[in-house]
């Protein structure tokens, strides 16, 4: 069982690597913003498989935190990108 889970983890990591290569190469921000989401699903799967295979402590708590913060990071990316195209002139004017 641990060997099987480790193989699955390695497989998922290879897929995440391929996905990252494609995403980070993609011209434009829209492609790159997906990186956090890719890690949020693939990275968590690899983490859970690795953790259960090696009986690591508290890996599920780490995966929980990773899920929350990867989602937060994705939202921050989208807001950062849209703020960048928006007009900066609004920033210094008082409301």
């Amino acid at each position: 069982m641990p060997d099987f889970l480790l193989t699955a983890a390695a497989f998922v990591l290879v897929l995440v690597t391929l996905g990252l290569i494609r995403i980070l190469r993609g011209p434009g921000d829209a492609d790159r913003m997906m990186a956090a989401q890719l890690l949020g699903s693939g990275g968590i799967a690899a983490l859970l498989l690795l953790g259960v295979a090696t009986a690591a402590k508290a890996v599920i708590d780490v995966a929980l935190t990773l899920a929350l913060l990867a989602a937060f990071a994705s939202v921050a990316f989208v807001q950062g990108a849209s703020r960048a195209d928006g007009d900066d002139s609004k920033e210094t004017r008082g409301e």
Partner: protein
């Protein structure tokens, strides 16, 4: 070559490639995304190194919070992007920088490879005295019992960083609201997401804080999760960050380090050394420090990401 070793080598190569890409890419936005990806991947490395507390901190701070901070900076720097891209240091500077980096790396590698086997460590002594501290997690014991002074200084440093960020405010906006009011559509999906996610995230944050006494976790990781959830709600327009001139805000920011210092000084009077805990009182004192530090940390982290005040305070 065992399977676990192969996975570790693959992970290391991936992370090195990620780090290299982050440095090499020209666009600031892309390099921030690379940095966040690198941080999230590093979480797996920490789990492989049997350091779940560090993994939690890496996922929370290195992935989420630092990412949001840097993205805000990258967004603000967008207008200067074209100008900086045309500047490049001369060939002499770049060669010298390359040689210097290689020399430092070589020195580090030589030092690490020449460590005596087994490496000198205080871990057995720390684990042996765990029962006296009253906590079950050795990392928490080190942070709040054996080396409480360092944790205090950390908290104060983060607070000073916040003051530094505030000092960047425009004169007109001094003491005002840190962020623009969100322009999110009130019926849109971001609001729905924040409404569902934030309460659950708050529960998870408090859980991670509470469980840190005996299992991996702690106040820093819990505070980061809480700050991230607050910022999520702010970004969706459901909440607003207070103006930095508010008295309650400043009191809460100061109360954490002040309670910490007070407990340390009390220790010097009752138990003989600064930050020595009297017998049997270790656990409640540690709990008091953690509870006092939580609001300070949550506010500091959220306000650090939010940035310098930009809107005028209410009159």
């Amino acid at each position: 070559m065992t399977l676990a070793l192969a996975v570790d080598i693959g992970l290391t190569l991936l992370i090195l490639a990620m780090a290299g890409w982050t440095i090499a890419v020209r666009d600031t936005f892309a390099s921030v995304i690379g940095f966040v990806t690198y941080g999230l991947l590093l979480t797996l490395v920490w789990v492989r190194l049997a350091a779940p507390d560090v993994a939690l901190t890496e996922a929370a701070m290195g992935g989420g919070l630092t990412g949001a901070l840097l993205i805000g900076a990258a967004a603000r720097l967008r207008s200067t992007e074209a100008a900086t891209r045309t500047e490049r240091p001369g060939i002499l500077t770049r060669t010298l920088a390359g040689i210097l980096s290689a020399a430092v790396t070589a020195a580090l590698a030589i030092c690490v490879l020449n460590l005596p086997e087994p490496a000198p460590t205080l871990a057995p002594a720390a684990a042996a005295n765990l029962a006296a501290t009253g906590v079950g997690n050795p990392v928490t014991a080190v942070l709040l019992a054996y080396r409480a002074m360092d944790t205090l200084l950390e908290a104060i440093v983060v607070l000073l960083a916040l003051l530094g960020v505030w000092s960047l405010a425009h004169d007109r906006a001094w003491g005002g609201y840190p962020q623009l009011r969100s322009t999110a559509d009130p019926d849109g999906i971001l609001v729905y997401f924040a409404r569902v996610m934030a309460p659950i995230g708050i529960i998870v944050g408090i859980y991670v804080f509470w469980v840190g006494a005996d299992l991996p976790g702690g106040k820093f990781q819990g505070a980061t999760i809480l700050a991230a959830m607050w910022l999520l709600a702010v970004g969706a327009g459901l909440a607003d960050l207070p103006p930095v001139s508010r008295t309650w805000l400043r009191i809460l920011l100061a109360v954490g380090p002040l309670v910490f210092i007070a407990i340390g000084l009390v220790g010097s009077v009752i138990a003989g050394a600064v930050f020595a805990y009297p017998d049997g009182y270790a656990k409640p004192l540690i709990l008091a420090i953690e509870i006092a530090l939580m609001p300070t940390l949550v506010l500091t982290l959220a306000l650090l990401v939010a940035g310098a005040p930009q809107r005028m305070p209410p009159q």
